[in-house]
């Protein structure tokens, strides 16, 4: 049985088109501890102080496998250039909207402000662009969105296959997908994507994902944060 979740489990990210929903989940802080305790043929029925100690020990010593016995299914709407980074994470399950099968909606991501990139590979820093740069970016992206979608519609109307027409669409168009994973894989994602070196846009999704996950496994999320977000 799927635990369908209502509004509190949806967070808007990169609005107005983006969001992430924790659609279903299974598992708790206590389950982590009991997965570890099976090594000792022991079992806890409540999550108390001792259990929290075990959990923190597992996190600190990077005993990862007990964090795998749980399940999180996210439903996500994000721009393709974000999804491209996301789907490089291999420990998890994906199903995504396909531009081969459906006509895509004219939902594009337009940044709020321009960013300036400094430094060398491996040590980039980003600062806020000038008002002029932001203005240029916004206008350029906006006109790019419009002209690309116009071309797409033109090709669709001409009877050309959707899978061909969509190749003119830019990487900031939104797509939608399911992502299922366990907490260990999730923490690996968060350790990389909440990091300040991560791209701003995926960081926003990672932050939201962290909040949704924290609602289900608060002690694990706390231990993860306290250990410096190093995935066990």
């Amino acid at each position: 049985m799927s635990n369908t979740l209502s509004n509190p489990d949806i967070i808007r990210v990169l609005p107005p088109h983006g969001w992430i929903e924790l659609e279903s989940h299974n598992g708790s802080d206590l389950d982590v501890v009991n997965a570890a305790k099976v090594s000792f043929a022991k079992h806890s029925t409540e999550f108390g102080k001792e259990e929290n100690g075990v959990l923190k020990f597992l996190m600190r010593e990077r005993h990862g496998s007990p964090f795998e016995h749980n399940y999180f299914k996210f439903h996500v709407r994000a721009p393709i250039f974000v999804i491209r980074e996301w789907q490089r994470h291999r420990i998890g399950s994906y199903n995504e909207e396909s531009g081969r099968y459906v006509e895509l909606r004219p939902d594009f991501y337009t940044p709020d402000e321009a960013r300036i990139q400094k430094g060398k590979p491996g040590a980039y820093t980003f600062t806020k662009g000038s008002l002029l740069q932001t203005d240029q970016l916004l206008r350029t992206v906006d006109s790019a969105n419009k002209s690309a979608f116009k071309r797409y519609q033109h090709l669709i109307k001409a009877g050309i296959a959707k899978e061909q027409a969509r190749i003119v669409l830019p990487n900031n168009i939104y797509s939608e997908f399911y992502f299922s994973c366990n907490a260990r894989s999730l923490m690996n994602f968060l350790s990389l994507r909440m990091d300040e070196s991560a791209m701003y846009e995926i960081r926003m999704y990672a932050n939201a994902m962290f909040e949704l996950w924290r609602g289900v496994m608060p002690s694990t999320a706390k231990a993860f944060t306290e250990t410096g977000r190093i995935a066990p």
Copy 2:
């Protein structure tokens, strides 16, 4: 939140010491269909005839990824020679009782009857042994169990580390573990381990696992059976 399951979700296998419990699960036949339908930006709210058609199509055409958005956590007690085969399945999560950490219990698997192996590699068949053979097997296994455990206890009492003492214990001693996986991985397990070429003992666990899984995803289990148990 974990859906803790009561007695109907435990099946005895290789009694008196063996069993398998579906301790928790998440996901349904409908979730499979909706994972597939995201490709078309569609969603069903009920599992009806059309949804069953989609599910059967996915199974037949071996579109496997929609079967991954679900979760099954099994708690198992089985002999080590069974676990050795089990843990070769890599798409899933394991935590197991450790003979390094705890003193093992004197629970050993003794077969009901002797088997005779015929044929050549890749095409073995097994038939029932004679009463004499069964008698020999049972007596031999029984004395092996007893003398091995006696040696184990002797070493433990002598103050020798558990991890050294346990090396004298035979492969038919029971151990206990958690196994978490999704339905796609589960079907892969079942396709290999319910097969008549699979070892009898693991087949008993696979059959029980199938029953427990069928209780949660009846239409998927039906489609899987009808397609000849070929994992999608």
Copy 3:
């Protein structure tokens, strides 16, 4: 030591910008057989008739693991909409050119002819478009490429971060990546991507990949073809 491969191991795909190179590899038909024979504590030193029989048996019976002890490293240049499908294959290793780090080159994929999509989901067929449709497609894609790249350059010149500028670029721009996998994973890829239901463009890469692989493991490739390209 890497076996660097020369020109015969590069195949042009979706020219003029696309190609796939088998940059390095390790393993042979014989290695498949010996991985299987370790079950019997046996070993062959030459690949003869008996070994080919074993190989065909493994393929037919879908004993997959012996096909994993080998290594293929491909270097690929392909349009992003192809890479998006490719990187959904999780059993393998990827490293890719990043639009966050480098300015992208103005290499875009323009189809040779228009396609018309018919049928319903799960049973699409594609036919050649009319000359008019092809003309419309080519002119539209060409102007899309040019205007998108102009916008990209404009943003880069304005000092905006590459990771922001690139979001206006369409999905038919080329990127470059390494893909390493073993023959089992490769066959899984080929079974799905050489299929006539696969998208034309990825099929071209799959066909080239098959040729490169066949040069290294001819008997495995033959058995795979004869079994109807069902991945073991």
Copy 4:
């Protein structure tokens, strides 16, 4: 093409019956760097000072994926209680000798000296046992080996299936397997199994594996050691 390796690539472990051989491999320190450099559309043809700097940066910052484009195939003979720990590592490929198919050889592991376990779970320490304890252990293990194998042979002679007869054999019997993996997975193995908290017997295999790997990727092995053997 498989690089078959001669004697220097075999190391005896837990003699006289145990060993590990690096039977084949592909990939180098330079390949790691070039997998990373594809992000920048760059390529090095020689491994010099700059390349070593990149490699150390990748290791330190835990950018793991560039370490995956290489291949190591090990052939191993080890006791089952070691193999049980080994095969819990899921990122890699295994094929193993099967007691269902062949009669097992009377090769058993007997420790050199007794160990005493102190401390509590998660913080065990082991000290050398007394001469008396070692004597007790050696005599007990030796008699266990002999009586178990005698029972095994008795059952085999009685015509009972090998898969049943072998269940009386203890966990210190040797088995043989292939293990293929890439350097990232290998480092994960080494980080856990070279650690002083790892069981002595698997540590011996990990140490040998490290030496064999270091012969092929010396700079990667050096960087791994200098970073405290934290797998990237």
